[in-house]
């Protein structure tokens, strides 16, 4: 069975996460060999995920942790309320 582009797009996320079964993976791989559109969609999706998942994109506000632990200290202190 030949799968079409739309079918490939439906499975791109699972494909990236290694969650498609061997048979489907083989079909997608075969499709990707000859379809430049799907190859580019897959590569760009993977690239976008790698970029936004980078620790530099979402950083805690400056001083967040210090303020949190300071507040905690008031509760945890032995003679605290």
């Amino acid at each position: 069975m030949r799968i079409d582009c739309k079918h490939v797009w439906e499975h791109i996320s699972a494909y990236i996460d290694g969650e498609v079964d061997a048979e489907l993976r083989a079909e997608i791989d075969k499709h990707l060999e000859t379809c430049e559109v799907c190859s580019a969609v897959l590569d760009s999706t993977r690239n976008v995920v790698v970029l936004y998942a980078d620790g530099r994109v979402f950083e805690l506000p400056a001083g967040f942790s210090e303020r949190l632990h300071e507040r905690l200290d008031k509760v945890l202190a032995p003679e605290g309320p």
């Binding site: 760009s44 970029l51 620790g55 967040f64 905690l72």
Partner: protein
């Protein structure tokens, strides 16, 4: 994995905290700070409010520590408390937003077609040294409907697995997969055409069909 949980350390820590070594709570909660804050940021969409809610959440976790039964991971339990805190605040504020909680369901038939390209030039992580790129990525995620944004944050950004994400958000594992797939498709569509300027400038530019 960012701050991968260590169940043995957590169980030991919790026993000792409940036994009186309260200061250990600092170490127990540290690996959960990031996901707690970003989940609340995703729900509340306001930095100051999210920080306040994160502090309240952590205090609630401390006060309710004796109720943790170890049936789920500690982080999962902590995140469900964070989610309740966030949703409680939303309800109190009676916030009316375009993407309010029930405005979107997994059954909706929006168009999740990706941006069609015929070639892709890799944007290396090094490009994140440019502040505009990080800002562009944050804006794109911020612009996602909430049900997708929460899943992207926990699965891709905090690198939690499907099971833990489902449990923390109180949804089925299948819903996590569907939402993640749709979120990534929406992000690819909005970001791919705008990322081309961040790819290394070499070779011929083609495939953008201008």
């Amino acid at each position: 994995m960012k701050n991968a949980p260590n169940p043995e350390f957590e169980a030991d820590c919790i026993r000792r905290i409940l036994g009186g070594e309260k200061q250990l709570f600092h170490d127990l909660i540290r690996p959960c700070e990031r996901p707690i804050y970003f989940l609340l940021m995703s729900i509340l969409r306001n930095e100051a409010e999210a920080e306040d809610a994160a502090q309240e959440t952590v205090l609630k976790i401390y006060r309710n520590l004796h109720l943790f039964r170890g049936e789920s991971q500690f982080r999962t339990w902590a995140l469900s408390i964070a989610r309740n805190e966030g949703l409680g605040r939303l309800r109190k504020a009676e916030t009316r937003r375009e993407d309010s909680l029930d405005a979107l369901s997994d059954n909706q038939t929006s168009d999740f077609t990706p941006a069609i390209l015929t070639s892709w030039r890799e944007v290396p992580s090094k490009a994140l040294e440019q502040k505009e790129l990080a800002a562009l990525l944050r804006q794109a995620i911020d612009g996602l409907p909430e049900i997708y944004r929460n899943v992207v944050l926990l699965r891709d950004i905090e690198e939690m697995d499907v099971r833990e994400t489902a449990s923390a958000l109180g949804i089925a594992e299948g819903a996590v997969k569907v939402r993640l797939h749709r979120a990534r498709a929406l992000l690819q569509r909005s970001l791919a055409p705008r990322l081309k300027g961040f790819a290394p400038k070499r070779g011929k530019l083609f495939g953008w069909g201008r």
